[in-house]
Amino acid sequence: MTGLARVEDAALLTGQGRFLDDLDPLPGTLVAAVVRSPHAHARIRSVDLDRARSHPGVAAVIGPDEVLATLKPFPLSVKAATPYYPTATDKTRFVGEPVAVVVASDRYVAEDAAELVDVDYEPLPAVVRTDRALQDDAPLLHDQAESNVATDRTFTFGAVDEAFASAAHVVSRSYSFPRYSSTPMECYAVVAEWRDGVDGPEVTAHANFHGPFSMAPVVAGALGLPTSSLRLIVPADIGGSFGIKSAVYPYIALMALASKHAGRPVRWTEDRLEHLVASSSGSDRLMTFEAAVDDDGVVSALRVDLVDNVGAYLRPPEPSTLYRCFGNITGAYRIDAVAIRARAVVTNKSPTGLNRGFGGQQLYFGLERLMDDIATSRGIDPADVRRRNMVTSDAFPYATPSGGIYDSGDYHRALELALDNAGYEQLRKEQRISRDNGEWMGIGLATIVDPSATNIGYVGLATPVQDRTARRGKSGSTEHVRVSVDPQGIVSVLLGSVPQGQGHATVARDVVARHLGLPVEQVRPRVEMDTATTPWTISSGSYSSRFAPLLTSALLEACDRLADTIKVAASVLLQVEPAALELADGMVRVSDDHERAVAFRHAAGLVHWDPGSLPDGCSARLYEEAAFSPPQSKAASLTDQINSSLCYGFVADVVVVRIDKQTLQVRIESVSSVHDAGTILNETLLEGQVHGAMVQALGGAMFEEMSYSDSGQPTAGTFMDYLCPTAAEACFPLTSAHQETPSPLTRLGAKGCGEGSSMSLPVAIANAVADALAPEGVQITSLPLHGNVLHQLLNATNGD
């Protein structure tokens, strides 16, 4: 464990960052502006590009005809009649959907000409709400589809009906989770070039895209190219993403096409207005949770009905929001039977996608609200209901009914620590006094399993078993690295992990230095993703908290092999067996005689300068690639079970709120949080992830909402209405503590830690508000929670 300072910061803090807008990778690049639909739902009668094309300074203008002439629809994750192109073709299906692209000498000219693109729209009735989309008579988004339900699957694991039939009590509640995003400081950026090469077209694209690189073959598929004809290059610095930038990829295809028509490379930089209405967001969800419960509040079975609103298209990797948490759908609880219905509907809202926590905040909002509703209905303290249901520490590895295998944990100890740090017993006493004084004070808990290192095999679950092609399964959570040593013994670590600010370089340097017994200064991380040269595969990328568990494991594999070569070289210099040597303090030394040693750099020098002195059969190779490939990440089984992540951490949050009786403002009095992310690699960075996840959760719980009018117009299209919490809102007292139960499945015992509280804190806040307002008879079933919402809830209750 270390608190090593970030190597990334000096450059970032002195304006030396190299974001795509700072770079000019392809000389002669022109600039694009995107013409977007003002209608939520409209048939395109005609598109006239002539006036725009004749505007001075314009190089090319493309619209639906050009898109249809060259591109194929993006391959989808499931078979659904919802073809998806980077622009509208027949109809526009959300406000902000691209319709045309203008390429010009600069962005001002491009925007001037964009106003000259003439689109004749025939407005159609829009469908916005999820419940409306489910109705038979709702306007149909995709003419070829039978309904707006793009995917509908049911699963049953264990004796669900029997458990409900014999249950003493059944607790059933419906909840809805809102749509919100993560608004990174840097928006999307793409520089793309189309060239006709010897073997057909070749596309080079620079983009602040961070994976999953399963989207590379998706883009290549739309371009009609083999994946290797699409060269993706990601700048070393990305100004945040939190998942949202995974949806840059449609623009890579679109700008490649624009470049084909312009005959020059094309740059497109998304502005904030475009980002807020048309980039991506987490999906909103309607859900019903039903539990079979005994007198003590112990849950024996669950029924879960989830309906995600994925917006206008089932844009890959959707409908994965439904499946990312499939293996941990029973959360932290020992529940042996679960029935699941998983649906996604298309509506006239912008398409959804990855957003820190991906599926977790939606799932746990239902599950953890339900646990509180069970506690209330049984008259049990919410902490007790969790104590009685949580998986016990002797049960690991714990197999969930839906296929998850929880690798390690001690949930009870972590919960007790969170409660102790919060002063839970004392808080309950204070609450009784506050209630006697007529004050609204509430305490909210959430205890969640934090999945990391996604097994992308869960994508397969959206397709029924009989429709899955035999021997074409999907699985995997592998991560790749290359490590090399130069003639001076400097170790270079090539990181294709495409960080967006997380500090991967800092941790990689530390891990490699420790493993090779070198001072950190002797290790130089280089962040570089170029699909033509960096080792990568489908599952590569920065998402689902993969770095700590997977990439560091790959690093150790590569370092082990490098160390073997270094030891052979040192054995030549020291005249001992390589097996007798160890690496420490920048030296290679005899394990039981530390005086007999040579410098690491001299051993490395020998390999470079004097490979002739190496023993026969020893390759003079000081670069190693490794692909950590955990065998636990298998494809979905024929019974539809999946171990949807490699590692499963744990978070316990305890939130205290007070609500002002005049303004109804919710004030967070304190948060106590305990994370178990396995072995901690860097305390400072872990704590940073905890804080960041909490602020994002705070946004979703109390401030941010990507809201739409009934006609499908976004009503939070600028930062005037889409309210991200600022430092002033985020400064609540926090006691953050950590517990370490190492994962047996990763080399360092580390699990992911980038998302935890973004999944748990929204519902913990909701539980606290529900607790505060319990005396008023108010039910909390959705987010966000702020004065206006509480005013309505309280008035509705009073009006009864």
Partner: protein, 301 residues
């Protein structure tokens, strides 16, 4: 998010500014805190931007004849930090609520008043104090009282060829107390509801006036003398703040029901805004009354 083409001029005198404004489609650029985003979003397309920041006489901040005179390019933050504003206590209370420090460092006092956002602080202060607006054009000068100045959301009596050259805020007299408060979902946002209050107590004479903002298409000023007098009759002549607030609570509800006439939005319904205004009124009228009585004691001694 790039502005449509426009011409840009930067005159050095008021005479030249108003000459430019006499042309069609010209628009004043002062601090740019509202105008520049409007340009970037192409919600406004002036043919010419008349940048007034190079006119020395517009940058004057002075006091004469019982008023603080604030020139057209005087920044909000400068006024907040200048000793002169101490003589207009309501300004001192209100200025910190405007946006964030960075915004106040660029945004101008006159610009905010000319822009007339219904949720902005300075139009409410101007209304509550009945400030005077000085308008200049090639046709001459005219003075408009705040009561006649604001005509609706983002609209005032300023003609396209006129420049708001100065705003005159009356300095506080003896026996005057002030209150100012607002509520927003986040620190620094435009208020969902706000209230500026002036109470004058001289001997037995009592006058209380409140200007609410964020609740209609323009600041709404109401005389609440009767309500304050009734509350005082109920709680006694020397109440504590919380006693007076309680005495005002029900009456504040009635005033709020009168003044709030905006249709709600996603951040606050009409009913919720009434609730917020009522709370602010009770609190700030109480605060203003208590400072007015202590102010008159001080001035009496």
């Amino acid at each position: 998010m790039k502005a449509a083409p426009f011409a840009y001029v930067r005159p050095g005198t008021v005479q030249d500014v108003v000459a430019e404004l006499a042309r069609d489609g010209a628009k004043v650029l002062a601090g740019g805190q509202s105008l520049v985003p409007v340009l970037a979003m192409r919600l406004g397309r002036p043919s010419t931007l008349v940048d007034i920041n190079a006119v020395p006489e517009l940058d004057r901040l002075s006091r004469d004849n019982g008023s603080i005179r604030v020139g057209a390019t005087v920044r909000q933050r400068r006024l907040q930090r200048d000793d002169l504003s101490a003589s207009v206590p309501l300004l001192r209370l209100a200025l910190p609520w405007i946006g964030h420090r960075e915004i106040r460092s660029r945004g101008t006092v006159c610009g905010s008043i000319a822009h007339a956002d219904p949720a902005a602080e300075l139009p409410a202060v101007a209304s509550c104090l009945d400030a005077t607006m000085l308008l200049t054009s090639t046709r001459g000068q005219r003075q408009i009282a705040a009561a006649e100045f604001f005509t609706g959301a983002l609209t005032t009596v300023i003609e396209p060829d006129e420049l708001l050259t100065e705003v005159l805020f009356p300095v506080a007299g003896p026996g005057e107390g002030f209150g100012f408060g607002e509520f927003a979902r986040r620190h620094g946002d435009f208020a969902l509801a706000g209230a500026a209050v002036r109470v004058r107590t001289t001997g037995d004479a009592l006058q209380a006036r409140v200007t609410c903002f964020g609740i209609s298409d323009q600041p709404v000023t109401a005389d609440v003398t009767a309500q304050l007098r009734a509350a005082l009759a109920e709680v006694g002549p020397s109440p504590t703040g919380s006693q007076l607030r309680r005495g005002l609570a029900e009456r504040a509800d009635e005033v709020a029901a009168d003044v709030v006439d905006t249709s709600g939005d996603g951040h606050a319904s009409t009913a919720y805004r009434r609730r917020l205004v009522a709370g602010l009124l009770a609190r700030e009228v109480s605060r203003a009354y208590l400072t007015s009585t202590s102010a008159s004691e001080v001035s009496a001694s």
